[in-house]
Symmetry: C2
Subunit: 319 residues, 2 copies
Amino acid sequence: MNDLLDRFRNGDRRALARLITHVENETPTGRAAMRELYGDTGRARSIGITGPPGAGKSTLVDRLALQFRQEALKVAIVAVDPSSPFTGGAILADRVRMRKLADDPEVFIRSMATRGALGGLSRTTGSVLKVLDAFGFDVVLLETVGVGQGEVEVVREAETCIVLEVPGLGDSIQAIKAGVLEIGHIFVVNKADKPGADRVVEQILGMLGLNPTPPEWQPPVIETVATRGEGMKELADQIRAHWSHLDEKSLRRRHIGLRRVADLGEILKGRALGMISEKILAQSGYEELKQQVERGDVDPFEAADRLLPFDGSEDWRLP
Amino acid sequence: MNDLLDRFRNGDRRALARLITHVENETPTGRAAMRELYGDTGRARSIGITGPPGAGKSTLVDRLALQFRQEALKVAIVAVDPSSPFTGGAILADRVRMRKLADDPEVFIRSMATRGALGGLSRTTGSVLKVLDAFGFDVVLLETVGVGQGEVEVVREAETCIVLEVPGLGDSIQAIKAGVLEIGHIFVVNKADKPGADRVVEQILGMLGLNPTPPEWQPPVIETVATRGEGMKELADQIRAHWSHLDEKSLRRRHIGLRRVADLGEILKGRALGMISEKILAQSGYEELKQQVERGDVDPFEAADRLLPFDGSEDWRLP
């Protein structure tokens, strides 16, 4: 691992890619590396982008990356695809990124497929963001399809959340997206040259207006046509405005502090699960008891009492 | 709790409703009741129904419930709505169920909103299914919007999974649903009187045909017009055919056995988290250490070493 970390710290992108794989798979090397790198994190700006399939997220993310490159910022893109819980394969095909980005040595692009539970994904996404942060990227763009709650959790790992909407998807889609509306710091109505764009802007403004306690940050709603690069400058300006807001109000320091405490909780939770399951597996009667439970001869609660007697609260009580 | 359980066992529907609330919120009463009722489970048939918003799931579920009622089966309906992670409110409004069902004393209808992580929801959904099973329902219909992976997990709690499709939702929706296709035992193309229905049937058959190892159960594809009750008899017949298949091949006994082992794992996991977090909170230095982590004075890994030294694997290693 030390060799890998040395190369990582020397800016070797292949070492970066390998380290991310370790972190994604939560290997011992990945966990040890997170520990080593933790002190180097807290500098990069993270931006989450979510929206329904077909909203043009990838194009917008590519254009936004180009915009930041023009300002000489180093940019990483992480695209999170929902995948089949059975095959483990990603549903959305890896589309071809803009050539200009793929050839740029200061741009790094990575796809992550969701494996198993989405709770686990938001944890590993958080770790991948930290690895990219430690590598020295100024901006990390985190792109995900906003179709379920798990995906919303993923985007919440980012400091700035952009929610994409688009005209013409119908009302039921809009209804589903209500939960996503609440996480947005900036709203983008993409494909704004299509009919109905103004109505989508109005709908979003209407929903934002329903908020009973107006937040200190009033989320702007921007129209873009990402395929032609229209509105990208304004979007980048609004992102910078949000960064200033986070810095001025010490919100960013607070966000990072809370993340650090949440990380402590996750580390302890992992250890708790590892320690206790190791202890249970080491018990001589475990395998037979498991078979008795499977056959229905012993009730799972009864078996749990024999393996791990405990009558306190079964909740994780740390942050 | 004993009073509540007595009333539950006497068939009191208000006691049933209250018990479900306890189980959903994972209260001590809910947990104790699950333990008491566990031995009474394993009889009800559970049917999961998923599909995109606007596919007519609720209407189909209502019609299917009526069909089973005509066969004198007691039916429970559980509708799982995705909700906002911020407000906790359900996004899809509780629609009015068919009057005929709402007035039927042998039919029980319950809505569940997703609170917090979806992993937690599939766990509580499993528990709610068991409560309804223990109450004596013959069939439990579990209805959910199939938009994300978490929702897929929910439907997998059921023995028989029905996947609804509908003409006219466009290709991007179809693409997202690829992951859902793999869990279906029966496919229904609802609104089959609309143009394009045949093409959807063909698409599903085509995707099913791609399966490299044909399963023992070949999922049928049925066309329905739920608003007019068309195709419901055939759907009920196919559900019964699936039940026979599960029974003949001992698949049902295997499914129940694996669920029991999974339940044992969940109980032990809950205890592990409860025990260890209790232990950590009881340490005198915990609060101050947490603040040091938040301020960035102590690294979360360093803090974890002080609170819970462990250098084994941080994975849960039980089923």
